[in-house]
């Protein structure tokens, strides 16, 4: 079993679950939660795509240096760092994506607070005045 593919599958499943919440729940807060779940699914997919089977974190610390040396010994020459670590780029990207998701969630919740203040209702169908 490849953990990368597993992460992908899991991520897609989370997206679907999140969408279920987003599309069927009437409560505004639950809709926001649904959105967060979808977002998390996407983040897992991003990390999963950067994953390479059997490799370690992209931090060039002492532990990694030891592994480099060990791998080098086995292969008879000094091994390249690049063959031991996972892709660092998606990890960097996911960091950004998480923060953005956080910002959106915070703003959505602020909207919920204000909307609730207007009509004392958390039901999304209470806010349909604008239409057509």
């Amino acid at each position: 079993m490849n953990f990368g593919s597993l992460a992908l599958g899991l991520g897609f499943l989370l997206i679907l679950i999140g969408f279920w919440g987003l599309l069927t729940q009437k409560n505004l807060i639950k809709i926001v939660i649904g959105f967060s779940v979808v977002d998390t699914g996407v983040h897992i997919i991003m990390v999963g795509i950067g994953y390479l089977q059997g490799r370690t974190a992209p931090i060039l610390d002492a532990a990694l240096m030891q592994r480099t040396a060990a791998a080098g010994n086995q292969a008879g020459a000094s091994a390249d760092v690049g063959s031991l670590i996972v892709d660092p780029v998606p990890q960097a990207l996911v960091l950004t994506a998480i923060v953005i998701g956080l910002g959106i969630t915070a703003l959505l919740l602020a909207y919920v607070v204000r909307l609730h203040e207007q009509r004392q209702s958390l039901d999304i169908s209470s806010y349909e005045d604008l239409k057509w």
Binding site: F12, I15, L16, L23, L60, A110
Partner: protein, 244 residues
């Protein structure tokens, strides 16, 4: 009910889309061009042991500036969006438990310390400005849980936040003149690889990011904390559109 059935059908179809993706996705065996470049040259060019940090702060520094901006945006929006016009009377809050109070008194300083440690060492070990900032904010959550009526000086938070953001951008612009471009961390010498004072500007930027993220997240929290929900879900004393 109909709505749920439709939603279900739609999600089945969406699952079909995702299945197509899974079928056609091939897991890579090797690092691609970009990642391989970072693995090979990241240490020497940027001087950070943590490659993710090198990418976050330097190579893709513009993204990071962008995400800091997003947090700033959110905090700014919330500050005028959730602002209360006047103190609307005291909220009555149940006193928090002895356990919580004691724990927070003991833990919060250490949480703050950990946060600072994480962002100061961001270029060497797992973690960085965002993680550190988030840890600091979590300390604040604990404080607020203990005493929901605690006054947090939003002005101080805003000052720290603005100052760190302003300096961050300023250092970035300095990169145009002193090094290879906007947000180039080689304004300062690379130093010794693997030590605290290495990787040029990177640790400093990460500290600024940490401060900024920490204050912004705290700011967000205090904004929500200040929101006063009227007692009882549907009290009629609030008229529509009356707020601010």
């Amino acid at each position: 009910m109909i709505k749920k059935i439709f939603a279900f059908l739609l999600l089945i179809a969406l699952a079909g889309v995702f299945l197509v993706v899974l079928q056609n996705y091939e897991t890579p065996e090797e690092l691609n061009l970009t990642a391989a470049y970072y693995a090979e040259h990241g240490a020497e060019e940027v001087g950070a042991a943590n490659l993710v940090s090198a990418i976050v702060v330097t190579y893709r520094g513009l993204d990071t500036l962008g995400e800091v901006t997003i947090l700033f945006l959110t905090a700014s929006i919330l500050s005028f969006f959730l602002k209360q016009r006047e103190e609307r009377g005291k909220r009555s809050v149940r006193a928090s438990s002895e356990l919580l109070r004691t724990a927070s008194a003991v833990l919060v300083p250490f949480i703050f310390l950990l946060g600072a440690y994480v962002f100061i060492n961001g270029h060497l070990s797992p973690g960085g400005g965002f993680q550190g900032g988030a840890i600091i904010a979590s300390g604040l959550v604990l404080l607020l849980l203990t005493d929901p009526l605690r006054k947090v000086s939003s002005r101080l938070l805003a000052r720290v936040e603005s100052a760190s953001g302003f300096i961050y951008v300023g250092l970035g612009i300095a990169g145009i003149f002193l090094a290879g471009g906007f947000l180039d961390s080689r304004v300062l010498p690379a130093g010794t690889f693997g030590t605290l004072l290495s990787a040029g500007l990177l640790p400093i930027l990460y500290i600024l990011i940490g401060l900024k993220v920490g204050t912004e997240l705290s700011g967000l929290l205090t904004r929500f904390q200040e929101v006063q929900v009227p007692d009882g879900g549907d009290s009629p004393d609030l008229k529509k559109g009356e707020n601010v």
